[in-house]
């Protein structure tokens, strides 16, 4: 198996597609890393479920205000032009289609756009948070993920085996090996690591990778 992108590199790649002036929600955990790689000169307004628009990076250690946190309960700062609001207004922004982009993590993504990212099934404590709202709210729902699970099984599949977060909601997937769009219930390959053949990539993918137009090289700097 070829080299693959690091999480930081996947986040970098996803960040390149966020347009100037976008309102963006980054899921807790790995997706939060996308903010680090916002291209210079683009202005992005970050939304967090717990009621802030326009927050910025973490404060220096020791200067945390624990009433000023993001959805991952991590301390943040405010940018000029920020606003506070309550949870119903916050999810009006989400559900009402006002966010331009939501970027989430995934356990599995099906070729029809179904996403599973909240429950690994019985035996654990289920926790859904805002994920089910985000997947039906943002104008564009993207996923960042390793291409395969830790034990090498595909995360891009024909049909999700884990409990769904949403039906037909994902439009683009950024993985450690490729960039894949979901169009008409099919995975359409847009970019792949240059060192990897299509056959090799298909072998690590649980559903057909369609080529429709050209496939670009997925080239990401060291970050």
């Amino acid at each position: 198996m070829s080299a693959k992108l690091s999480n930081a590199q996947i986040a970098w790649r996803a960040a390149q597609d966020i347009p100037d002036g976008a309102y963006v929600n980054l899921g807790i955990g790995f997706p939060e890393m996308v903010a680090k790689f916002k291209p210079e000169g683009r202005e992005v307004v970050y939304h967090t479920e717990n009621g802030i628009l326009g927050f910025g990076e973490a404060p220096p250690a020791g200067q945390e205000d624990w009433d000023l946190i993001n959805a991952g309960k991590k301390p943040v700062t405010l940018k000029p032009g920020a606003a506070f609001f309550h949870h119903a207004d916050s999810f009006a922004m989400v559900r009402g289609g006002h966010l331009d982009v939501a970027i989430l993590g995934a356990f599995e993504i099906a070729e029809n756009g179904d996403l599973a990212n909240w429950s690994t099934g019985p035996g654990s404590v289920p926790a859904v948070g805002g994920a089910m709202d985000l997947v039906h709210g943002a104008k564009r729902v993207a996923v960042i993920t390793d291409h395969v699970t830790k034990d090498g099984r595909p995360k891009l599949v024909k049909k999700c085996s884990l409990p769904l977060t949403g039906v037909g909601c994902v439009t683009r997937v950024y993985t450690s090996l490729a960039v894949v769009d979901i169009v008409d219930k099919r995975f359409v390959l847009r970019e792949k690591l240059p060192g990897m053949s299509l056959e090799e990539l298909q072998g690590l993918t649980g559903a057909k990778l369609v080529v429709d137009g050209g496939v670009k090289d997925l080239i990401v700097p060291e970050v």
């Binding site: 100037d20 506070f84 009006a92 006002h98």
Partner: protein, 239 residues
Amino acid sequence: MDKVRADIEAATGDIRDGASVMIGGFGGSGAPIELIGALIERYRKTGSPGSLTVINNNAGNGAIGIAAMIDAGMVAKMVCSFPRSSDPRAFTERYLAGRIELELVPQGTLAERIRAAGAGIPAFYTPTSYGTQLAEGKPVAEFEGRHYVQERWLKADVALIKAELADRKGNLTYNKAARNFAPLMAMAAATTIVQARRIVEPGGIDPEHVVTPGIFVDRIVEVAEPKQEEVLLREGAKQ
């Protein structure tokens, strides 16, 4: 991200024939007189935008604001709760002559339908209007032994609203009870156009005091000395 537009014409010039237009205000309080004026002027010059559906609590008063739009002949339909006023001639004449359509909506239902549109809620149940003419044809459901009417969200192509302060990112405050429907309409319209008495830099409004967060706002123009509809009415003004 600078939502400020050079002038009202630049902010409103793409509103088209047949558009649905939410207009903030309750009576004269909050009525965006200058935004409305620009539409009327364009209609008089070019015949467009006509055949509008206008959504407001009322249906105009005297010969300014929404009444002037109706008089100009650019309004095909009003969606409102209370099409009466101290001088309702413009609407009343056309309504009784069958030349303007009316969708009458209870005031709280109107507010909630607009909020629902902004919040991605396609339908909700309310006790309001159950058993009345205004519920005819609407689904009814029973919850815990009480009857409710199903109401649908109300979206619009454009919202025209009047704010007190706006920053360049679109965060807004309002002046007193001029707030009324404006924060809801800002959420519910595809394009929200604001006339603000003053535009400030980002940071010029305390994040705790923002009433409408910028995500709901698309275009802002400064109207430093806005006309107040009620004052104009008392002066006998025409628009």
